[in-house]
């Protein structure tokens, strides 16, 4: 009996009492805390190890679910799951490589008099590959019938049944079939039909202009073909098609996109150079031009800096070895790099920050932010100072920051600037409230004290005394200001 009472006592103390003390914190948070405490306190009396309603493995997967079982059954076999990620990657890369065998027969080669030569090749691979059931002997299928209407054919194809597309011989027939497929909205069927048209019409030596004219008015079908060629990596065929169709929708960008597949930087640069001439919109052209110029710069800088670093004579590279190459980095990253390693260089050199700023018309704000971050990282406080100092024509200096001094303070603080440096900029923050906040947050005592002095706020100043060290210079300063204020007000 007495033991039970002890238990009860313990429960009273451990659960009920503790669970529902209301502290006067923000009630939202305390509500959460409260329910958490309640939950925790209940743990002692509930032993829920054995009889969980549903068995759940630690990862939360209910035991018996499919993905859990895959791991379970697979781990008992010899295959190891660790290699899964890498092998899947391998799978996708091998996918990218597969259709290359077809790509040697480009459209343009078909038009340049090599038609006869490549015809047989195309009919061997291209047609058979993508136009299903194109040349199967009729006898192969039990349910083969030669008089399916276009509609029925599409319907059968949608259901995944085998059909012969051979009977659709004339252009008219093919186009009817294509229209029927488009109306059915099943991309699978549309692609199959269009590929059949596409390859078959070449075989019939029909003027291609006619086919393309027909495709042009069938945008959906055309999009499917383009998408298919994109997916299978048929870049050349794709561009030829787009060019021949005078189909400007995505030609330029498709071509530009191709640069991503070029690993060699020199080749990539050459390729981008070629893209500049494409008829982009004015805005896009300037971006692509910038992209090219940037890569060109990066190649020069990279070659130069790699050499410098290897030679080991430049102090900055010895002290801060480069973590990665600058090739293919965004512009702002490149600017940071150049502010870090090449800050003092004359404007004439390609790697100087001012040169980058001019060439790419980098806005002042962006430039100052980046330069500040780079110089602060190197703890080059003089450079930071110079960044915000302007001289007027009389020779007076003035501090100005296009980004606002509160941002300057934040960035300096992130780079662990010493208080002396920090407070110089905190002092420059114009808005009094922001200045006080920042000064208090980063313990720039002088600034706080001076601000309160200027505000003639005795109460705050007195209150601040407890925030500074006893017997410190700051405390003394506060005391003297306070006594001064008294004198001033009493006089």
């Amino acid at each position: 009996m007495s033991r039970a009472r002890a238990d009860e006592e313990e429960y009273w103390h451990s659960s009920k009492f503790r669970a529902f003390t209301f502290d006067d914190e923000d009630d939202e948070l305390s509500q959460l805390k409260e329910s958490k405490r309640a939950v925790n306190s209940l743990r002692d009396i509930v032993d829920d190890d054995d009889d969980d309603l549903e068995r759940v493995s630690w990862s939360g997967e209910p035991v018996g679910s499919i993905s859990w079982s895959i791991k379970e059954t697979a781990s008992s076999s010899s295959s190891s799951l660790e290699s899964r990620d890498s092998s899947l990657q391998k799978g996708s890369s091998s996918y990218a490589a597969f259709p290359k065998q077809v790509s040697s027969y480009s459209l343009s080669s078909l038009f340049k008099g090599e038609l006869c030569l490549s015809l047989s090749a195309l009919s061997d691979t291209g047609a058979k590959n993508y136009a299903p059931e194109l040349r199967r002997p009729k006898a192969e299928y039990k349910d083969y019938s030669s008089d399916w209407s276009p509609k029925d054919t599409v319907k059968r194809m949608q259901r995944g049944k085998v059909c012969s597309l051979e009977r659709f011989r004339s252009l008219q027939d093919k186009l009817m079939l294509l229209d029927e497929a488009v109306a059915g909205h099943d991309g699978n069927v549309i692609t199959a039909v269009i590929l059949m048209c596409f390859t078959h019409l070449y075989l019939s030596l029909l003027p291609v202009e006619i086919l393309f004219r027909e495709l042009e008015v069938r945008q959906v079908a055309l999009c499917h073909l383009i998408h298919f060629l994109k997916e299978t990596g048929e870049q050349k065929l794709l561009l030829d098609l787009l060019r021949l169709c005078f189909f400007s929708l995505s030609l330029q960008l498709s071509q530009y996109r191709e640069h991503l597949n070029i690993q060699d930087v020199e080749k990539r640069r050459e390729f981008l150079k070629g893209c500049i001439g494409l008829p982009f919109s004015a805005e896009d052209t300037s971006h692509i031009q910038d992209h090219y110029t940037l890569l060109e710069r990066q190649i020069i800088i990279e070659a130069n800096d790699r050499h410098l670093e290897a030679a080991g004579q430049s102090e900055i590279f010895r002290k801060y070895p480069r973590k990665a190459s600058i090739l293919n980095m965004p512009l702002v990253t490149t600017l940071f790099y150049s502010c870090f390693y090449h800050y003092t260089e004359a404007e004439g050199t390609f790697s100087s920050p001012t040169n980058l700023k001019k060439t790419f018309k980098i806005p002042d704000k962006q430039y100052v932010l980046t330069a500040l971050a780079a110089r602060a990282k190197l703890r080059a406080w003089d450079d930071v100072d110079a960044l915000f100092t302007t001289k007027n024509w009389l020779g007076y200096t003035k501090k100005k920051a296009p980004i606002g001094f509160h941002r300057v303070v934040e960035i300096l603080q992130k780079n662990n600037a010493p208080v002396q440096v920090l407070q110089e900029y905190v002092r420059l923050v114009e808005d009094v409230e922001t200045r006080l906040n920042l000064a208090t947050k980063y313990k720039c005592h002088d600034v706080v004290i001076e601000t309160y002095r200027d505000l003639k706020d005795r109460i705050q100043l007195t209150a601040y005394k407890c925030k500074v060290e006893r017997g410190s210079a700051e405390e003394e300063k506060i005391n003297s200001i306070l006594s001064n204020m008294v004198r001033n007000t009493s006089s």
Binding site: V39, L53, P62, S65, S67, I70, S94, A192, E283, N328
Partner: protein, 601 residues
């Protein structure tokens, strides 16, 4: 296992049952012991249809993930590939089949099950590789609409929006129409179809056509759904861009919910026993299933996050009181009764523990300065403040190199709320983004322009304020604790899509003709004839059931808003939701981004 599916107005267990039956039939076609090789993407959706136990009953002994190389040495008669019809997967399968040891005995039979549809191209590809003949059964499993909850169906087709709007590939719409036909076969013909948008029109056309083409499909089931509402995602591009503020919405925004499961950082879910803790904190993420089967979750999932804390604390009190009961249990009978309730109480306690931890995790983020700043800017845009000039916060975020997706979400939101950006503003943002994140993102920006998310203002007129006022998209006096309007799900913004659904039910779209014309795509109404015997005589006070199909994706906050409408006392309509994919702003923008090769180092 699937009790939560039958909790709603429409019993979706029937749909799940149909799926299971089809699966069993296929498995039985391949007699003998089996191993399944899974396209990994499919395991999540399949998990909502069947557990391993069902497969086991049909002699599935092993399961593997699809990957190149030699198949594991499992002693089974059949190897079945469960795959999506993708060419890259066909390559892996080919590799598997070609490496199979022909000398082994007994030989293993190969089969292939395409989900959701057989593909001529894939089969042709297998044929070219000379392996098509190795497959004894080639079949398709139409997993179109998967039941996620008692009122929620999804096709989990990740790229549906991208395919429809960037690639003009409407295959997903074809599958949607197929899924709706299956649904009608199980739950009766839906007499009324409304729609808004180009894709909606296509789906409705296909449904009508399919019905005409299979006259035998005329069924004699009493219709469960009164109305189908088809909505294009591009009619409402705004909603997914805003940060969802419901509990479930925030879980998805922050951690991402996949097939009803969420993976959470393990720290808050430390081992239960004291003394054990400290040493071996779990490092693997904690995985939890989230659906209405969990009583507490069903109660809080759709609440504004600010209203979740009080529910949790109330629950804590109730549970504590329930455990307290044991002190009053004096007689054996009372003790017995207490004990019999224990399992239920324990489940409730552990559910409370989990959600308290999740709420704490979310709280850490929602109370952060950056979350607040971001939300402030979003709300300014949505209420029409300063949408026509370069925004300082966005500029700052770019300067600090915040994640690109976050920037794109905000810029797109601004563009949508201003019916396009002034050319000068758009050019400025583009330049900043390209200079900071790399010029290659010009491809992504181009995709966003094509999808209409980012565009220059073409006419001098900005339609958004008119739309906002007419549809009351911005509500200043929002009540998060006891909401009286759907705008609570975004703390002020009422999702446009759901407003359209609400206005359709009452007073009808005729009242907003003008606004409907400003939104892209046609709006329409179709009727499907029912045999006289099946026409419904509505009982007084009986609610109508409307199926809202979001073509191109739906967010959890929109679902919450529709559930709120279902529960309104005088609402008169209950909603079931279907979609091509459950999305949030981040996953949505990601699906539209150009896949860039990883940097070479």
């Amino acid at each position: 296992m699937a009790a939560h599916l039958s909790s709603g107005r429409v019993n979706l267990t029937a749909l799940r049952e149909a799926g299971r039956r089809e699966l069993r039939e296929f498995l039985d076609k391949c007699a003998g012991s089996k191993a399944i090789v899974w396209d990994e993407y499919l395991t999540g959706p399949f998990g909502l249809i069947a557990q391993y136990s069902l497969l086991k009953e049909h002699e599935v002994e092993k399961m593997f993930t699809l990957k190149p190389g030699r198949l594991p040495q499992a002693d089974v008669k059949n190897i079945i590939f469960f795959v999506r019809p993708k060419l890259e997967l066909m390559d892996i399968i080919t590799d598997n089949v070609l490496r199979e040891d022909r000398g082994r005995s007994p030989q293993r039979d190969f089969h292939i099950l395409f989900v959701p549809r057989r593909s001529l191209l894939c089969e042709q590809w297998l044929k070219e590789q000379g392996v098509l003949g190795s497959f004894i059964h080639r079949d398709q499993y139409s997993l179109d609409l998967i039941p996620f909850d008692g009122d929620l169906l999804s096709m989990e087709s990740e790229s549906a929006f991208k395919e429809c709007y960037l690639e003009s590939d409407q295959t997903s719409l074809y599958h949607a129409a197929k899924g709706l036909m299956t649904l009608q076969a199980l739950y009766g013909t839906i007499p009324q179809i409304f729609g808004k948008g180009e894709c909606a029109r296509h789906v409705a056309n296909m449904m009508i056509r399919m019905k005409r083409e299979f006259p035998g499909s005329q069924n004699s089931i009493f219709p469960v759904f009164d109305t189908l509402l088809l909505l294009d995602r591009n009619v409402d591009l705004l909603t997914p861009l805003a940060t969802q503020l419901t509990y479930e919405g925030l879980i998805d925004e922050i951690y991402g919910i996949q097939n009803t499961y969420v993976k959470l950082p393990p720290e808050k879910f430390a081992p239960k026993k004291q003394g054990e803790g400290g040493k071996d904190l779990p490092t693997e993420p904690k995985k939890l299933q989230l659906n209405s089967a969990e009583e507490l979750y069903a109660e809080i999932r759709d609440k504004n996050f600010n209203a979740v804390g009080s529910v949790l604390s109330k629950r804590a009190k109730i549970i504590s009181a329930a455990f307290e009961e044991r002190h009053h249990a004096k007689t054996v009978g009372e003790i017995k009764q207490f004990v019999s309730q224990l399992p239920h109480m324990q489940a409730a306690r552990s559910s409370l523990a989990n959600h308290t931890s999740i709420a704490e995790l979310i709280k850490d983020i929602t109370t952060s300065e950056d979350f607040f700043d971001n939300l402030t800017v979003e709300q300014e845009f949505m209420s029409g403040i300063d949408t026509d000039k370069v925004n300082n916060y966005i500029e700052d975020c770019i300067a600090q190199k915040h994640p690109l997706i976050k920037i794109l979400r905000l810029v797109c939101l601004q563009s949508v709320c201003n019916s396009g950006l002034k050319q000068k503003v758009l050019d400025y943002y583009k330049r900043e983004i390209l200079q900071t994140y790399g010029y290659e993102h010009i491809l992504t920006l181009n995709n966003l322009e094509k999808a209409g998310l980012l565009k220059p203002q073409t006419s001098s007129r900005n339609n958004y304020p008119t739309i906002r006022k007419t549809l009351r998209l911005w509500m200043d006096d929002v009540n998060e604790q006891n909401p009286n309007d759907i705008s609570y799900v975004y703390s002020g913004y009422a999702p446009l899509s759901v407003r359209l659904a609400q206005l359709l039910a009452r007073p009808g779209w005729r009242s907003i003709e003008e606004v409907l014309k400003m939104l892209p795509g046609p709006h329409f109404e179709e009727r499907q004839q029912l045999p006289t015997g099946l026409q419904k005589k509505r009982q007084h006070g009986e609610n109508r059931v409307t199926l809202v199909f979001f073509l191109g994706g739906v967010t959890y906050a929109e679902i919450a808003a529709l559930r709120f409408l279902s529960q309104m006392e005088d609402g008169g309509t209950e909603y079931v939701i279907a979609t091509t994919k459950l999305i949030n702003g981040t996953s949505w923008i990601k699906s539209l981004m150009e896949k860039l090769e990883p940097a070479p180092f």
